[in-house]
Subunit: 345 residues, 4 copies
């Protein structure tokens, strides 16, 4: 049983605790907070009350280094950098659920996150934590940059097609729709029930921070800079991301290959399910799970390819994937703690 | 006071009655039904009970021709054709909220709606009822084909840019998101509360019937066949459509012109509001109203143009626009009965 | 056209503006704010953008006294008292949508609202603004205390039965369920979308501020202190209150009289609709309207009476009723600006 | 590993499969259907696709008797009776999630369910399956009548107070609020998304079938017939029941005893959690779990007691409790397969 620390007490931290309660080899022994110090986590999150008796602590890295063998950081961007640096130095494995180690180009980070990166030299140590694309590197890494929720939903379906040379590198359009928990627990007008319920909107056109993250990974898969647009939208629901990707077949490529390439890539993967022809996913199908489902539409006449992916932004889009990464880093069975089925309806 | 008949008693008929209750010159004197014959409309739709004392009738065209000066048909596709033909012969003005007179090409209609068109010779009589693009023809027409909800949301923002020669005619992507009332009152698994709530999905990829309707009108604006994809999605909310349109500037055109063209086109229009730079609409802003709001993102560096439009699918997307068309056909002030403000929040 | 000022810019203020846009004799000429000073109200509330060109002002009573003939105060409790006192002195008619003038007993006010009442001597000037029960007094008043949303939903159905001596004065149970807009626009954890959506809870057991308000008015109707419990619950929806009232027939009284008394009381009232036997209301039926619907269950065998009422908390429960009161105070037709039908579905 | 059959393929069957996927000693080997015969259950319920490869069968009792050691019946009322009789004769243990074996009085059953009971002689064999109140009898029974969702939410909080003689036997008011999945997967107008969303209503006043079931069990606890009212309401959410119970202290009893009695009763129970003073539950806290949370308000001055309970109608209110019962019947650890934490937010 590995002793695990969690830094942060927002929704992704709560989701880590939910999943770890069913994990046979990871035990959450510490959770740190700023607003709820001294409160039992079961009072902060009453759905956890029957299984946890953990009191929220201030973040004390010395203490964490003594009591924890690995750490999840679930913090707003900018805050993880010095902590990860310190924990890394002490040999503690870290999965950072925030954005600080995702972008390899520090200038891009500083432009989009409007903050100085305090330890750019650490970026080379961090592995981008998409296990299905990057498993071996994750296994031996000390720092995993857990991907953003939107990027996970876009990269997993598209990257194999780029790698296979099937689709054009220009004009990629990624139209994503997310539930509200992706915006976190913080109070803001845009998360007020009445401002969200019975409404639908786009936001962050051309400026959302997950744009360059997606571009980085798709370009890595393509072997050159791809040209893409990413537009997120807000859905009046708690959980779930559906991403609709518009791609174009390269000349000479066949629509049928799209399915073949994705089936081949993911046939041995538990968590990525390629759906049958004519079936596109509903985010409900993966509610509360670590699955990503992919539906495919591809048409030889027009060359159009549409991929529709669904995941749970708090699970495969955040805490579930973080545990998947941690399992790999610690040499555990990759799906430990993540085999729970989704809630439906 | 014109005497008005309504054929059909689904959600769009209910919305017609709601709006007509506040209309000074149109009076609903007849509503016909198949399932609710003999019931007072206030028992079928209790929100109408204080203002209406109308009993649902079987559809009796002879009676309608005697008692009504104009008729709204709010029926599933295929049913309107013989009725409109008969009413037209008697000189009764018709607004058909269904799909039977929207597609000028009868083969396209028969392919997408999987039914024979019983009176293709009547298609030439029908005017496509988008008042902001087609006002003069509507004024003198006897039959208005009221546009589909998705097409309204896509054509109004895009058509002026095609007319102005600003954007490419290929690779137009229309990603739409609709509330559930667009699927009507009929009972189907895909409208069951538990199947919709806390979920989000795409549907009808590459096959939705509103695709050829949009293509027809965009091609008309472009002066040649445009190439586009249309993908609808289902949002867990009652009302509202948000459409995200991905376009590309033609070489030599400037991003700033997009706003200029749309402002110029719609400056005198009450019901189409072009939003300020950096503002994209929420469907909540037009809830229960006949407005369409348009937000614009356009970027010279990449040539990308994103238009985001919002409307209420039952109002500007159906019954509100139908009344707007009827006002024009009868020579009334165009916004009569449609000036009510939206419900918020 | 009366010139009207609105002090406050929360949801009830927005609802006043929505309704006043359709009012032929009241014109909103001023809105004051603390957070949005200098912003056009159409930017704060984009659903208003086509009809208003009002810039939010700081609250300047001298200016208001010059430019307005009557004022709506839509403020958190405690803030209205000095303003109403000042405006009253200047002969300006006031409808206070807050709680400061509702409770006639200043000690009860101070206990439940945990604040000192700055002008208890003014309480005698204020009339409790339930037009259906209190119309004549409202017509001649200068200050109307607009009732709370929950109290409106409970008092209108129950008071006539108490007045008629039909029901017991003890053991009255009022179980109310409200949409989230009743909690206002302020940011609080309990209004965060994810904390509300897909959940249901009770709150304020035995302590909610609307309890003594309901007790005051029911006791007035009964002619003696009634004994009652009031429990509010939060429904994951924007608008609407459903109140379920559990009452007991007095010995010798008949179940049928319950309907008779309520029908008699409200037969001439537009805004209170007593539903047919076996029909209980849905809050959807009054969405966006000034109606209150009442359903009745009464059983001679057990003596049990259940009344179920539905209203829109922002309309009949706040701003609609406020306009109804203002119409009465100014000698206008009572339903002016309030005849719009509800949005459905 | 016990081989388990499931008869029926509605929401409670799907929930059984979800929970059994995580159960170490029960294996679902057969599911029967009427509408989906021949379909893989992973196509009917795509959230199950990664874990099940079961094809829906017609209900063949002979086959079931050969292949299954125990059976869950998840059927509309009336259908279970002959099947349970047959399976019982073959020594197969049955948990019936329907209503056919809940009411001990066959006349009450026939009146409320409007159908003849085909085997009233079997009623004596059935044990009412509330493990926390009835554990020993369940362990040795062959037929468990799994309680209704509303009854579970009402009986668990109230029964111990009746047993302890703390509260009056008259005037018990049970005001329940349920999510939509309680109405099942069948298509009906009252489950249409647009008819439910953004609305709230009561239904079944004085006539709901769960009324006599609650009365039966509360009367059993009280040792005499109690007098109570039960009113259900529909909440626009998928899952969850919140029940607000209004009770009165008997003369001489103290409010503090309410908490003491419930704590004492449930201190050793995992699945019933009595919350701290001042805390009332939200249905979100038990979403997807087998927990029931109870909040208590009790006041010596007035003698009023309010209990608020929360459960997930598909889990503790149906399939979770069914598995809890089956675990007991088969001599397994009672919480096997039921220790998953809830989804939040």
């Amino acid at each position: 049983m590995y002793k695990i620390g969690i830094i942060g007490d927002g929704y992704t931290a709560a989701e880590l605790l939910r999943l770890l309660a069913g994990h046979d080899e990871l035990q959450a022994v510490m959770i740190s907070s700023t607003e709820n110090i001294g409160k039992n986590i079961g009072d902060v999150y009453p759905h956890l009350r029957a299984y946890y008796n953990l009191v929220c602590q201030p973040t004390d890295l010395e203490q964490i280094k003594k009591s924890c063998e690995a750490v999840f950081l679930a913090l707003p961007h900018g805050l993880s950098v010095p902590m990860v640096k310190d924990l890394f130095g002490a040999g503690i494995k870290c999965v950072d659920l925030g954005a600080d180690f995702r972008l390899q180009d520090v200038n891009t980070y500083q432009k989009y996150y409007e903050t100085r990166h305090e330890a750019p030299e650490m970026l080379a140590q961090a592995v981008y934590g998409l296990p299905e694309l990057n498993r071996e590197a994750i296994k031996t890494s000390q720092i995993v940059a857990n991907p953003g929720c939107f990027p996970t939903s876009a990269i997993l379906p598209i990257a194999p097609l780029l790698e296979a040379g099937l689709i054009e590198h220009q004009g990629i359009i990624i139209d994503s729709k997310s539930g509200v928990s992706g915006a976190g627990k913080a109070l803001k007008a845009s998360s007020h029930f009445c401002e969200v319920n019975e409404g639908f909107k786009a936001y962050g056109l051309g400026t959302h921070r997950h744009g360059p993250e997606i571009a980085q990974e798709l370009s890595r898969a393509a072997g050159e800079k791809v040209e893409m647009i990413f537009t997120p939208h807000l859905v009046p629901m708690n959980r779930g991301i559906l991403t609709t990707c518009y791609l174009r077949l390269r000349p000479g490529q066949k629509a049928a290959q799209v399915r073949e390439v994705l089936l081949e890539k993911y046939q041995a993967e538990l968590f990525v399910q390629v759906l049958e022809e004519g079936v596109t996913p509903n985010t409900k199908w993966v509610y509360g799970t670590n699955f990503l489902y992919i539906g495919i539409y591809a048409d030889d006449d027009t060359g159009n390819v549409i991929l529709v992916s669904a995941l749970d932004n708090l699970c495969k889009g955040a805490s579930g994937q973080a545990i998947q990464n941690m399992n790999l880093m610690l040499g555990l069975e990759e799906s430990q703690g993540l085999r729970g089925l989704g809630i439906y309806p």
